[in-house]
């Protein structure tokens, strides 16, 4: 039995070791090196890259990323919970709705983000329709601001919120809901006081799945934010491309990973048992 277990574990363990642990170790090593004059890496070993992180500029970038990711997560929750509840109670059409939620994944995220640019720009669909209908005279500035970035993130990550919540709601014993109604609770009170607390593990899982990728997003702020509302992911990307400062980029990546893991640990320590 023991040998079989090892055998079954081996492929995944080897995969993680080769493609997760090893690259992370390399990033760790890079973060302690010094940038060469024209990019590239070199000695001496130094903590300088981490010291640079204390610069208020980078902290404000981090705070801004938290704000954008937090807003996107809350909106995803506000949209995802009712959506999951609706699907879980949709009876035989459940599978149709579920496949509709997953449908966008058939197209690349990049292409879909470009599509949003065409919808939101001054001469885009939304402004054209509103102008033709006579509702607005000047086009609304829909593209290239924080709102557009949050919209793009919510659009992209909504399924990651809706699906885990759906999974917990589906396992919810319908008798509990019936009991709540029998005891005189109105539907809204049942949702808020019975269903929502029971869906908590799904909500936590969904929030984690949405918040973490949003925190490190760089494509959406670049395309929908027009490079005007940079997030921490853009800082990292820039270090590896334009600035050619791989050591500093590695240090920022690791700092971001550390923050995410600390948050996960703090958040999941309370919820962990329920999730498992």
């Amino acid at each position: 039995m023991g040998r079989l277990r090892t055998l079954f574990l081996a492929p995944a363990a080897a995969w993680m070791l080769a493609l997760m642990a090893a690259p992370t170790a390399i990033v760790c090593a890079y973060s302690l090196l010094t940038r060469g004059t024209y990019g590239g890496l070199g000695a001496p070993w130094t903590l300088e890259n981490y010291r640079r992180l204390a610069d208020p500029l980078y902290l404000s970038l981090l705070a801004h990323s938290f704000y954008i990711a937090g807003a996107a997560t809350l909106i995803c929750l506000a949209l995802g919970f009712p959506l999951a509840l609706f699907i879980s109670r949709a009876g035989p059409r459940k599978h149709l709705y579920l496949s509709l939620v997953i449908l966008p994944f058939w197209t690349s995220f990049l292409v879909r983000t470009y599509a949003w640019m065409f919808l939101l720009r001054d001469t885009g669909l939304v402004n054209t329709v509103l102008q033709t209908a006579g509702l607005i005279r000047e086009p609304l500035p829909l593209l290239y601001n924080d709102g557009a970035v949050i919209l793009g993130l919510v659009y992209g990550y909504l399924p990651f919120m809706a699906l885990p919540i759906f999974a917990t709601l589906e396992r919810l014993d319908p008798h509990v809901v019936e009991a709540s109604a029998d005891l005189g609770a109105r539907p809204l009170a049942t949702v808020m006081r019975v269903v929502l607390p029971l869906a908590r593990p799904g909500i936590v899982a969904g929030a984690v799945l949405v918040f973490i990728p949003c925190l490190g997003a760089y494509l959406t702020p670049d395309l929908l934010g027009g490079g005007k509302s940079a997030m921490i992911g853009n800082l990292i990307q820039n270090q590896f491309t334009n600035a050619r400062d791989w050591p500093f980029g590695s240090a920022v990546s690791l700092a971001l990973m550390a923050i995410v893991m600390a948050l996960l640990y703090a958040g999941l320590r309370r919820e962990g048992e329920k999730l498992l």
Binding site: T37, G39, Y58, R121, A230, N238, T241, A243, R244
Partner: protein, 340 residues
């Protein structure tokens, strides 16, 4: 040897025998050759070419920095020649194999970044200016006009630190290659002052929005602007009066290449006037090849956005490689602009 190994080996050998022609590996900017440039070379020289493209010079450098990237010929900008030499990435050019270097225009036979062309063959060059909608009157003709409140929210700047900081420096009458902390701080303030007026920091993506009329003026590379202007009569391009940055992409042979003779043949082929002229017509870019220039249609040759007259060109400034300290300072300024 058992039978299975023999069969595997022999099919492998057969695959080799099918195509023993030498293969040249070329990594170039996207949209930087004509459709027939590479196929014609393949046919004429009886070789194979692996051709791939990149979108930024940094991307290319990151690939070849290791010294065993598998590429033979790449096209770095002029300000990368010295860094690549210092990193021992370049192979010396053998002028005996490059008779077509004689076709180069005078200033490109002894360019400041490689005066004897010992390492690089100038290919095409470009410059940065302002693409604008003709409805904008008076028409912008200075970098300062991109700070004017009248176009608030209707202008874009390039998503490139050297360009945005460079335009701010030029507006102040300073060099695009400034390394002095005080000068860079002045440029930082200019750029931060401009940001509320800027719709977005965009590169080639701005073309559509210029054509659609969403954007009235954009800091843009002459070549990219040319591609937008070709699709819209109401667009024009101007080189700002304060001066503007200029860059030149060069064909180089990597030191790691073990097909240097073939690589020289390829460089010499690109320097042929008719080949270079076809590339210019296809890409709407300015060539360093004087003989190619004569082979062009008058319409392309006399386009002042691609080939500005001498009195404008003398205000241009070549981008230079910058010391590490200045690069770091500029990167922090860039982050501050983007985060503001």
């Amino acid at each position: 040897m058992n039978r299975r190994a023999f069969l595997l080996g022999s099919s492998g050998l057969a695959a080799c025998r099918r195509d023993r022609r030498p293969r040249l590996n070329v990594l170039n900017w996207s949209d930087y050759v004509a459709d027939e440039t590479i196929p014609d070379f393949v046919t004429e020289f009886g070789v194979r070419v692996r051709y791939a493209t990149y979108e930024s010079a940094e991307e290319m450098l990151a690939k070849v920095l290791s010294g065993n990237s598998g590429w033979d010929v790449v096209f770095p900008p002029n300000y990368f020649i010295q860094p690549m030499r210092e990193n021992e990435l370049l192979a010396p050019l053998d002028h005996a194999l490059l008779p077509n270097l004689d076709h180069l225009e005078g200033e490109f036979r002894h360019p400041p970044w490689d005066p004897e062309l010992s390492w690089s063959a100038p290919y095409m060059w470009g410059a940065t200016g302002i693409a604008f909608n003709r409805s904008l009157q008076p028409a912008p003709d200075t970098w300062a006009s991109l700070w004017a409140p009248r176009t608030a929210g209707r202008i874009t700047m390039l998503d490139d630190p050297a360009e945005v900081i460079g335009a701010s420096l030029k507006k102040l009458g300073l060099s695009v290659n400034a390394t002095d902390a005080r000068e860079l701080d002045l440029a930082r303030r200019e750029a931060l002052r401009q940001k509320p007026l800027v719709r977005a920091y965009l590169n080639a993506e701005v073309r559509d929005q210029l054509v659609a009329g969403d954007v009235l003026a954009a800091q843009l590379w002459a070549t990219t602007a040319q591609q937008a202007i070709a699709g819209a009569d109401d667009l024009a391009f101007v080189f700002p009066r304060e001066g503007f940055p200029r860059y030149c992409d060069n064909a180089v042979i990597l030191r790691e290449s073990d097909r240097r003779d073939l690589a020289h043949s390829f460089l010499n082929y690109l320097l042929r006037p008719e080949v270079a002229a076809a590339v210019v017509t296809a890409t709407q870019t300015a060539t360093a090849n004087a003989a190619a220039q004569h082979a062009l249609d008058a319409e392309v040759r006399d386009n002042p956005a691609l080939y500005p007259p001498p009195e404008i060109l003398e205000k241009a400034e070549w981008f230079l490689p910058l010391p590490a300290g200045a690069q770091r300072l500029r990167d922090r300024i860039w982050t501050e602009i983007k985060a503001a």
